[in-house]
Symmetry: C2
Subunit: 334 residues, 2 copies
């Protein structure tokens, strides 16, 4: 089997190592060299191993900012166990602020377990799947809504065939302390980082911290507290996890998105006028937002209605909307 | 003089007319035809003329949404006077969600008074300067922060050589009822719509309603109430203007950005971590935000500090920042 990716870090050594995963390149930009993907290992004796990842999508910024800070400030003497940090997983995408790689156009979160003989993004996935997933007890992958979506700062887990893993995962997610903790049936799991970790029998928690290609001081605070809560929950540092709080409520609410009827889609291209904010109470039939037609100024906008009762968990955020866009998820509060 | 732009609307007739400005095109997409820019005239007897414009920049969405709604709902019998509405001034840019025109790459707000023999964007400016500015008493141009900036929902006016016009403009802006009303010395006025209207001796108010290529129910509400407040202030409809309110405070605060020292700039490319929210109190020396270096994960982020005391009026919102970006404006509260 071909192995092209490499990293100088020895994950079995105590101390702090900050380095880069190297992926050989030879292309129109560099005749010979490597792509460099930052990674850190901070280890002190025995204990659990947590992997924190940010920048899986390059248009989601809380993970890169908060994990960059964690990488610099966390010292081996502060922990018992091992913390691996990849603040900019898809570093070329983060550098451009794009969801997919500007090098090969691929979405890192759709190509796991990767391919060592493939493109750069496939090779990043391959390195993580081969070298890191076997080492870890749990992964916290920090996302946000990307260019076109905003969500209540939250942490997601999946319904799993292994019910014991499902339960342990949900408890590790609750400990993160986000305003909402979610269990979800994904529509499009093929090639997700999530599935690669879950299939290895490990805990995978996906934080969704904000969106609209921006961050706020609040989403940054929730992300930072969540990461420290995870360290506390796995006894890597002392103390008990505590909810991060949110301007709409304190504490942790548990919600579900049981099936497709909790999502609403645009059926037309146009401008999107949202009529509710994140966290608002929604009843079936409520108008969630309207699509406006700029070429036909006299035409009435088309209303998009909720099918279920719950709270508005996510909404389309970009001014333009495309037919087929998921414009709102109304979540069931447990 | 060449005149290429035209519109079937008769601005001297009572009633409601919704139509399009036509700008001839012959290019790789259409061999022969016109670009169509929506416009409406709603008139009932004598009285002042207000022009409301949205979509001057195509990545700012409150104006297009709120003025599209106004265009459909406002009827001649509701008003005394004349209302002209252009919800999607730079319609090709609004259709793509881009600041500048996707047809000719031009920023509509930098090419007034336009050029009939020029490109589409120059011709839009020319039509407005030639046909509309002479008709109006006041213009409310609805902007937002665009892709990379968020602002306190606000309305801006300028220091003017004509001090009587400056005062009448400021009062018309205050009436809009935004959380803050600003008087500002622009850095880059050449070719702005603002200047074209002010040079004609007319009132020009520039609303800045949100930003980050998104809208919220709050910024939409403030924009809508502002437009109706303007109609009330100029006695086109009955009633008195009232402040729209904001989640940080009620009422209208008056602020100034007297000189360059109230703005802070990034000096490096990187990821931007904001440390304060819009409306926060700032003291000189406060760290407003930090630029992170993704290629050098161990390098400390560079802090950007405030030089003046005041409130945080605007901040960089996009996750990436470029050297030279205006990352924060700290405004002096009067």
């Amino acid at each position: 089997m071909i192995i092209r990716s490499s990293c100088p870090i020895d994950f079995e050594t105590d101390g702090k190592q900050v380095d880069f995963i190297r992926i050989p390149r030879s292309d129109d930009v560099s005749s010979a060299g490597s792509f460099l993907i930052p990674i850190a290992c901070i280890r002190n004796g025995s204990g659990p191993t947590l992997l924190f990842t940010g920048g899986n999508h390059g248009d989601e910024f809380e993970g890169p900012l908060v994990l960059g800070n964690l990488l610099r400030e966390l010292q081996p003497e502060q922990i018992s166990g091992r913390v691996i940090i990849m603040p900019y997983m898809n570093a070329p995408a983060v550098a451009k602020g794009t969801r997919c790689s500007p090098i090969d156009g691929k979405n890192l979160n759709r190509i796991f377990p990767g391919n060592e003989a493939g493109t750069i993004t496939q090779t990043i996935a391959s390195y993580i799947a081969r070298e890191l997933i076997p080492l870890v007890d749990a992964v916290y992958d920090l996302h946000a809504g990307g260019r076109s979506r905003k969500l209540i700062p939250s942490i997601m887990t999946h319904y799993l065939a292994d019910k014991d893993l499902e339960q342990r995962t949900f408890e590790a997610a609750l400990a993160f302390g986000a305003p909402v903790t979610i269990k979800i049936e994904e529509h499009d799991t093929n090639g997700m980082f999530d599935e690669a970790v879950e299939n290895a029998g490990k805990i995978f928690c996906c934080a969704e911290l904000g969106g609209a290609q921006t961050v706020s001081t609040e989403t940054l605070r929730i992300a930072r507290e969540g990461v420290y809560n995870a360290l506390r929950y796995f006894d890597l540092i002392e103390g008990d996890p505590h909810p991060a709080g949110w301007h709409r409520w304190n504490g942790v609410r548990s919600i579900q998105l049981p099936d497709e009827s909790y999502f609403s889609y645009a059926m037309h291209d146009g401008l999107y006028e949202p009529l509710y904010d994140l966290g608002d109470e929604i009843s079936p039939g409520d108008g969630l937002g309207r699509v406006h037609f700029t070429q036909e100024p006299e035409r009435s906008p088309v209303m998009i209605r909720a099918k279920q009762a719950g709270i508005l968990f996510s909404r389309h955020s970009f001014g333009l909307v495309k037919a087929g866009d998921d414009v709102a998820a109304v979540a069931k509060v447990l």
